[in-house]
C-alpha cells in the first residue's frame, strides 16, 4: 500500500506546485517549467525514499519497492507531460468540439463551424512554440532546425518508419 500511496502523494505534491504557480503566473516556457518542477520533486522524493527514515518504515518498504515508487511517480509525470501538450494550447479538434458544444441542441452547420474558427491561430501558435522550445532557430528571416529539433523528429519518424508507417495526416 505504501508504494502506491507514496507514488501518488509525490505526484500530487508536484501537481499542486504546478497548479499554484500557473494560477499566479503562467510561465513563458510552460513545458520546460513543468519538467523542472517534476525533476525537483523527483530529487526530493529520491532523497526522502533513500533516507534512513524511509528504510526504517519496515520490511514491506524494501529498496526495490522504493524504486517501484519512483517508477510510479515518473510514470504519472511522463503521462502528464504528454497530456500537457494538449492542455497548454487549444488544438483544432478541441476548438471544434467546443463550438459544437456551444450550439448543442440546434447543431452547427459545417460552413458556420469553419467560419467561426479563428484561422491562422493554430499554425502560428505551434510555430511560436517551436521557436520558444528551441526546436528551430531564426536565421535572419528563415527558420532552421536545431540539433534538439532534429533529434526529436528523428526519434518519432524512425519509430514510425520501423513500423512501416510513412504517410502523415493533418
Amino acid at each position: 500500500m505504501i508504494v502506491f500511496a507514496s507514488g501518488i502523494a509525490l505526484f500530487l505534491m508536484a501537481f499542486a506546485v504546478h497548479v499554484l504557480l500557473w494560477r499566479i503566473h503562467v510561465p513563458k516556457r510552460q513545458g520546460r517549467m513543468l519538467a523542472v518542477i517534476f525533476l525537483v520533486v523527483l530529487i526530493v522524493g529520491v532523497g526522502l525514499l533513500l533516507s534512513p527514515a524511509a528504510a526504517s518504515i519496515g520490511p514491506d518498504f524494501s529498496l526495490l519497492r522504493r524504486i517501484l515508487t519512483i517508477l510510479l511517480y515518473c510514470s504519472f509525470c511522463t503521462v502528464y507531460l504528454i497530456l500537457f501538450t494538449a492542455i497548454e494550447a487549444d488544438s483544432p479538434t478541441l476548438t471544434m468540439i467546443a463550438l459544437i458544444f456551444d450550439r448543442r441542441a440546434q447543431g452547427i452547420g459545417r460552413e458556420e463551424l469553419l467560419r467561426s474558427i479563428d484561422f491562422n491561430s493554430f499554425s502560428r501558435l505551434r510555430l511560436d512554440q517551436l521557436l520558444r522550445d528551441d526546436m528551430v532557430l531564426l536565421d535572419g528571416e528563415r527558420l532552421r532546425p536545431t540539433r534538439k529539433g532534429r533529434i526529436v523528429v528523428d526519434i518519432i519518424l524512425t519509430y514510425r518508419y520501423l513500423l512501416g508507417r510513412t504517410p502523415m495526416g493533418g
Partner: protein, 189 residues
Amino acid sequence: MTREGTADLLLITAPFAGFVINILGQFILTRLMRLRLLSSIFVAFTAGGIACFVALAIALFIHAQPMLDKLALSASVLLVYSAAGFVSFAVINLGETSLRIRMMRLILENPDGLTAAEILTRYNDALIVSVRLRRMVDNRQVTVSGDALYPRRSVLILAVGGIWFLQWLTYGGRQGRLLHDWAKYLIQR
C-alpha cells in the same frame, strides 16, 4: 536471494518485460504479419499486459501479504506498464497528427530553411481543420444530420472533458463554462 527479494525484483521487472513484449509485438505484427497499425497497437499492448500480469501474479504468489497490499502493488505495476504503453502510443500518434512535428518535417526537408510565411502557406489552418473535421465525422465522434453537426457521446467527448477540466484547474477562465455544459450534457442524456 530471499523469496521476498525475488518477489520484489519481479515487481520491478514486470512492467519492463511487458513493455519489451509490447514494442517487439508492434514490430512483428506490423512488419511481418501486416496487421493494421491500430490493431497492432492494441494486440501488442494486450500481449505485453498479459506478460506483465503473469510476472506480477508470480511475485504476489511467492510473497504472501495482505489483500490490500496486493491490490495496491498490482495497481502500481499495471500503472507503470500502462504509462509506458501510453508513451509508445503517443510517439506513434505524434507523427500522425502533431502540427509541430509536421512543421519540423517541412523545415528539415528544406536545407536552406523556410520563412514563417512559407510554412504557414504550405500548412494552413483551413486544411488542418477540414482534415480533422472529416476524421471526426468518419470516426462517428460527432453526429451529422443534414449539414448540421451535433455532439455525440464518444471517447473523444470524454477525453475533451478531461482536458477542459485540467485547463480549468490550471488556467481558470472560460473552460469553467465549457466544463459545466459538458457535465450537464452527460447527465441529461
